[in-house]
Symmetry: C2
Subunit: 431 residues, 2 copies
């Protein structure tokens, strides 16, 4: 009999642990791997003002330091409604969800995790883009889920492929095991690509059409929704689910405000409300009430929108700096190309197949040890793919400043060239 | 095929939801049911000072608002070591655990939940005191655990009974399914009783002795450890596990400092370190870094110990007030008796068997509707007992002030008497 639960066994050896270990062992590296936010965006003064306001009234201060409710601070859930209504260009009353369908969590990660917990039994199927957000693949593994990859292109998850795969699962009698379709709809982590509008609509239609024996939910991870650097606006996947029955929406204040405050949120269909709240209760009775009150104050006093504007401007500059550096240092290397994201925090780069970007490949080792630069290997972002591509990388422009971003890309280019020159293909060509 | 996971189905209908619903429906009730802390104990000024200090330095402020690490803010884990060392009367270096065996969580609830997650598969056995902390029974149900009740008396869990039950399980071939023994060692929620010192030692010996095919861990929930109102001091169960292999220790800053800040912690044996951290990563990547830095500042600047002294003095007064009120209003009712706790937040009261204290019983209905007072029915605190006693109650002196505590107990006494007078036994006696 194993000393650990099966779920603990399924959660072993996560790439994030390896990445953190590498950071510790190589303290001088420039980390294009980290998913942190830009320290310069962090709202020190705004939080100070909010806390001061909250705690200057002893009675209000005590209420902020007391337990809150499991689903979260009601005034913040109402502020979230207003924010969503604004993003959806709706009146808050037209949103079509009650306050109790909004759950406040410890970052959106906890919300994503809870959705998995309440829907997925071991052996159940979750459909994900290939590639997709690797931390959620870790969650799904921990649940014993079977992830099935849906190919994506420059418009995101290919809905025609999704339809074909669902048909295939139906023929195999596996349709009743399909519980969830997970998609990062804006500036996908890792590719930076947004799901196109027609596909957003189609995704909802497919989820409805294939919900036969049981509902198939779409989990729309909109973590990067507000980090858009061009003027293009898109309706959410959620907006096409007009009766709010099939799409679960996850968002967060971590990227736009502060990950240290750690407040995320999600909206669930009525059918999942009680289960999600019960799960949240079992996990922690509710996230920090104090922090929820801080965020509520910030929203209520109009401090959020201008802050997000500044954050956007900062990341836009950094995205541009990374792309300019890639143009300068990488465009001369044959077979190297990358996505030009319109938002989010990541540039997705592809290198020649001869350059193995995986943890055990030549580039990762060379880059971290020789060039002192680190990235997230693309292959960890594929779930349910036996032999994922090993010539891709996720490069984050979130943390480093403009000068270091340029330096980091230059170092990475050196690493790619060094590995290419030593590869058998290169030797054969030169020999 | 069910639309929800089995774990979600197992988590339905938790007593806490019913209690909260009752609070909403009966807004005028005096709640002896709430597990909140006394608002007067909440450290508004200390938190304000801590936040001000943290955020007055822009660089430090930004670090507090950035992501932290999954196991938690290292300086706070080190402060926790010092606190533990002080409580254990050891030098921090003699504690016998590394910093990475300390996990910071969203309250100790999340730590308790994580321990269950990493150890318990559906059908596995967890041994618990009867009665015990009902919220953890909810967690265990959510995991599909089989809880087996170990009787307790005025010295806590009966270790001789525990030994007998383990022997029985061994004969039935079920020993390999036993993963955990859960015990609230100080001022147990709900009984207020502490596990006696000889039984603490014996508990560890039993866990070791019966760890054959797999380790059987003791989960020591020491949430109320610092809320002691008499001079008696006791070593922890954990202290008897000298090589730190069999006891998992859970504590929290919620009760002694602020539940709104929501920082708890636990110490795990080396064998569980990686699994607990991986689970924490899947759930939320780490609790709020900001709040951990607030608590670290409070400990570092010597603000914690004097605050806990004030908290203790306040609760001691309130415990005394509740006991005095019980003496005044309840001692005249035949068959009513209660525990006089030496710490914690609860008085455990037993009424005559004719008075049904359960949610569906006459007293709960009468008390909430007529007398406007609410308690936690004792039967919800029994796990693995087919027919739990229905004539017990958990009465919390945490939230209400001294005057209201007296009023609440008076109301409760009226309710008990009213129900007794209408009971068939009473009618028979008077008839």
């Amino acid at each position: 009999m194993a000393p650990l639960s099966r779920r603990a066994e399924w959660s072993r050896d996560q790439p994030i642990s390896f990445l953190m270990q590498q950071s510790v062992e190589n303290p001088g590296v420039l980390a294009l791997s980290a998913g942190l936010v830009d320290p310069d965006t962090l709202p020190v003064e705004v939080v100070r003002e909010a806390v001061d306001a909250l705690l200057s009234d002893p009675r209000g201060g005590r209420s902020a330091l007391q337990y809150g409710t499991t689903p979260g601070y009601l005034p913040l859930r109402r502020q979230v409604r207003s924010l969503l209504a604004q993003l959806e260009r709706l009146d808050p009353d037209e949103l079509g969800v009650g306050d109790d369908q909004i759950l406040l969590t410890t970052g959106s990660q906890q919300f994503l995790s809870i959705v998995g917990e309440v829907l997925v039994d071991p052996g159940d199927i979750v459909l994900v883009s290939a590639p997709t957000y690797f931390a959620y693949l870790g969650c799904l593994n921990g649940l014993g889920a079977r992830t099935i990859a849906v190919p994506s292109d420059d418009q995101g998850m290919q809905t025609a492929e999704l339809d074909r795969i669902l048909g295939e699962l139906d023929r195999q009698g596996e349709l009743p095991r399909v519980k969830l379709i997970y998609v990062v709809s804006w500036f996908e982590n890792p590719t930076g690509i947004s799901l196109s509008v027609p596909r957003r609509k189609e995704l909802v239609e497919l989820a409805r059409r294939w919900s036969r024996a049981q509902p198939i939910y779409v989990l729309e991870d909109a973590a990067y929704r507000e980090l858009c650097y061009e003027s293009d606006e898109m309706p959410s996947v959620w907006s096409f689910d007009r009766d709010r029955t099939h799409v679960i929406l996850a968002q967060t204040f971590s990227k736009t405000f502060s990950p240290g405050i750690r407040v995320g949120f999600g909206v669930v269909p009525e059918t999942l409300r009680a289960a999600a709240a019960a799960r949240k209760g079992n996990e922690d009775f509710g996230s920090s009430n104090f922090n929820q009150q801080v965020i509520a104050w910030v929203l209520e006093h109009g401090r959020y929108a201008p802050h997000v504007d500044r954050v956007r401007a900062g990341y836009r500059r950094k995205r541009d700096a990374m792309l300019a550096a890639a143009d300068r240092y990488c465009s001369g290397i044959p077979g190297v190309h990358w996505v030009r994201p319109r938002g989010g925090l990541y540039v997705w780069m592809t290198v020649p197949p001869a350059v193995d970007t995986s943890f055990r490949g030549a580039l990762f080792h060379h880059a971290t040890r020789q060039n002192q630069v680190m990235y997230v290997p693309g292959d960890v972002c594929y779930g349910g793919v036996a032999d994922p591509p090993r010539n891709q990388m996720r490069l984050s422009f979130g943390v480093l400043d403009v000068d270091r971003l340029e330096e980091a890309i230059q170092r990475l280019a050196c690493g790619i060239q060094a590995v290419l020159e030593r590869s058998p293909a290169a030797s054969a060509a030169s020999g």
